[in-house]
Symmetry: C2
Subunit: 435 residues, 2 copies
């Protein structure tokens, strides 16, 4: 087929036929992408978009080091982990060292879903109990078990026999209003204790808490100092393990290597994914020797295309890029510019309720008005559509789908951020006036 003849409508029809009607798409007027370079992607007409959404290509779209590494490794050897391969071992060692001393061994898999499955199995084996608690607006993956921890999606079931949820620590729309910060912290901790107690009251028992270290899908709430440490202590006092889902939070995104460093707690089990391979499917679950060895002994776990030389090559190239391109520092310094800019814009706009987040992961909470703080999902979607039309990719997300999620590849430049802020200000000013 001649590409010039192929219009998007025809392509969307083919997509419905071949991938199924309802396969998720961004934007009411979707875009076809054909090329990427750093923080930029291009559609078929050559139109450029600055990517302010995607965390998977953290070290840049079209990253040459990653492409070269996987090409060389695939051409050299890519084989399952029942044969010894030094590259896989060296990668596991390097990852574990980034979490030292809590994390000592890594079990690799191919997706965040698989890595969370492993984490839950580890917690269950370590504790001899089955019950897991999670937040009431979590997303941790799409399998039968992990999907039951997903309360933000259609068909998500907030409570099942072995999964109970607690209200995520929301300071902008608190679960109880009028409390002091300390009283509200106590309230949230009490809700966690209640969820644990409900599990302990049954045969299921309590195995652990699985949370995104920064509550990304919940909306990056601003947490008071020490809250997460107190939550982790509660979990351990109740005999459970603390599982930090770092699939969104990890690999320098927050201006820290790991999200749990940003929110101040130490996990027993960490789950890594998404940016780990810059688009090559890799995920991993890390824990202490005791936890991992017990898991290995009980499950005989094996994953054919995980723990491979290909995964290790991609993962190593990503770590090299993060370090050599100083992307941790980029996330810190440019993240601050981004947040300060958005905060300044929000202060003058009725519908920009709050700006939250850390590093290069910021959300703007879109509201009908600042007094009621009522989430405005429609306006949030409209802002994302408008930004897209003007060449900036974002998406709306969060527990109420009313957040503008601003999360560019870590290679984003100061110039791109300045351009984004200028456009964001203009759009939201216009919309404020129109409402």
């Amino acid at each position: 087929m001649e590409h010039a003849d192929m219009n998007l409508c025809e392509l969307l029809n083919r997509r419905d036929q071949s991938l199924g009607v309802g396969a998720e798409l961004f934007y009411s007027d979707p875009i076809e992408l054909v090329r990427g370079d750093g923080a930029h992607v291009f559609d078929r007409a050559g139109r450029r978009y600055v990517d302010f959404y995607n965390n998977v290509p953290a070290v840049g779209h079209g990253n040459a080091r990653v492409a070269d590494a996987i090409s060389l490794q695939q051409r050299t050897l890519n084989i399952n982990s029942r044969y010894v391969h030094e590259g896989v071992i060296a990668y596991a060692e390097r990852l574990a060292a980034l979490h030292a001393p809590a994390i000592e061994s890594i079990v690799f898999s191919c997706s965040g879903t698989e890595a969370n499955e492993v984490a839950i199995q580890m917690a269950r084996i370590a504790t001899g109990k089955r019950g897991i608690i999670c937040s009431n607006a979590a997303y941790h993956g799409n399998s039968d078990l992990v999907g039951r921890l997903t309360n933000v999606r259609p068909g998500g079931n907030p409570e099942s026999e072995d999964v109970h949820s607690f209200p995520f620590p929301d300071w902008y729309r608190p679960v109880v209003s009028g409390l002091s910060e300390e009283a509200l912290a106590g309230e949230y901790l009490a809700r966690i204790s209640e969820a644990i107690a409900r599990l302990k009251a049954t045969d299921v028992g309590f195995a652990g808490m699985l949370i995104c270290s920064i509550f990304a899908n919940e909306g990056l709430p601003d947490l008071p100092q020490g809250l997460m440490k107190r939550a982790a202590d509660l979990v351990r006092e109740a005999g459970g393990l603390v599982i930090a889902d770092e699939v969104q939070a990890g690999f320098c995104r927050t201006g820290h290597w790991w999200g749990y460093q940003a929110t101040g707690f130490t996990p027993d089990i960490v789950v890594m994914g998404k940016p780990m391979g810059n688009g090559v499917p890799i995920a991993g679950t890390g824990a202490s020797h005791a936890i991992v060895d017990a898991f290995r002994a009980k499950t005989d776990h094996f994953n054919t295309t995980a723990s491979t030389p290909l995964q290790a090559a991609a993962g190593m190239a990503v770590l090299d890029e993060l370090e050599e391109q100083h992307l941790l520092e980029n996330a810190q310094s440019l993240g601050q510019v981004l947040k300060d800019g958005l905060t300044r814009i929000a202060a003058r706009n009725t519908h920009l309720g709050e700006v939250r987040g850390r590093g290069l992961f910021i959300v703007v909470d879109i509201v009908t008005d600042k007094d009621s703080r009522t989430p405005d999902q429609v306006l949030a979607a409209a802002i994302c559509e408008r930004l897209k039309t003007l060449g900036f990719l974002t998406a709306n997300a969060g527990a109420y789908k009313n957040l503008i999620k601003v999360r560019p590849p870590l290679v984003i430049s100061l110039g791109d951020i300045a351009a984004f802020l200028e456009t964001f200000e203009a759009i939201t000013f216009e919309m404020d006036a129109a409402h």
Copy 2:
């Protein structure tokens, strides 16, 4: 570290530390691999092994077309499926066409486990019931749900509330002895009906049957003509869907494109994986528009690193290689040479009970003696170790772990097969004399 100084013992110790004690390894004396080329792999000392085991590198270790394809795509663009990408659509179309007319749309994922999770969710949504039946010696993956269909592994639970099993159709060690072929077929079909009836007697109900199309892990039983079609009819008459796990059977392995063509039935849902990306993590679940669209509508399913341009590039390159290198024909003609050779050797050896299989997937059933047909796992493992020492990779497998699994990359040559047969004959003759 100087590689010359690094011995395997040290490497295994590092592996225990970084991946966990008990991470699966082949051979009591494991091997470290550093390079592969076609059907050959090489250890650090430069020693060559002919690979007679691995189905993932179906189009060859170090395949240049796959390496070039993923390198080019990763350098060009690799992004999640919420943006439209023509390559992903074209790949789904090409895959579906290979299953036409039963299969119309594909849901991609990153592993066989994930693809089986999707298949079960599809069957549950289509039928409104939850119960799945599988064979009593199946392996379909490692998640909480799919792991419950896995009866061959430590910790596997053959029966749970929503998973019931039936004895796999074994003609070498029949579930009831002394029956005619037709009577035994009736017996196996009755066991399937019983498993369905057990589910239907509860609130769980019956959603479908998930089987490997060729019962690979069970040991590639020789099935009478028409048995699988009758089993599929039974399942559909009971209101369930037939799910064909093609993760091992698919992509020309059996001398057919798909295992269900070899065993003669048409699935409602197919699950693909392993050789699909020649080592790049890709899997897929295919079904009719009705089944896939209903799944999409109910689940809002999304998988960040699946349905990507990278997966499509790898998958397309594999399909190109299968076709252009005539690997279907290779599986047919060389598979026949391999099976005939092994059958000839087995006829003269007390411990080689039976040779079964199709195309380039053959098993030799190792027994204490041909009269009792008692599985001899220890001897099977010893043969694999000895073959490895002499430069040929195989492994023992099957419901009794007493099968020598002979399953080379599809690019294997006639010369390699002749060398393997010669060595296999010499080893087993020696062992026969020694026993």
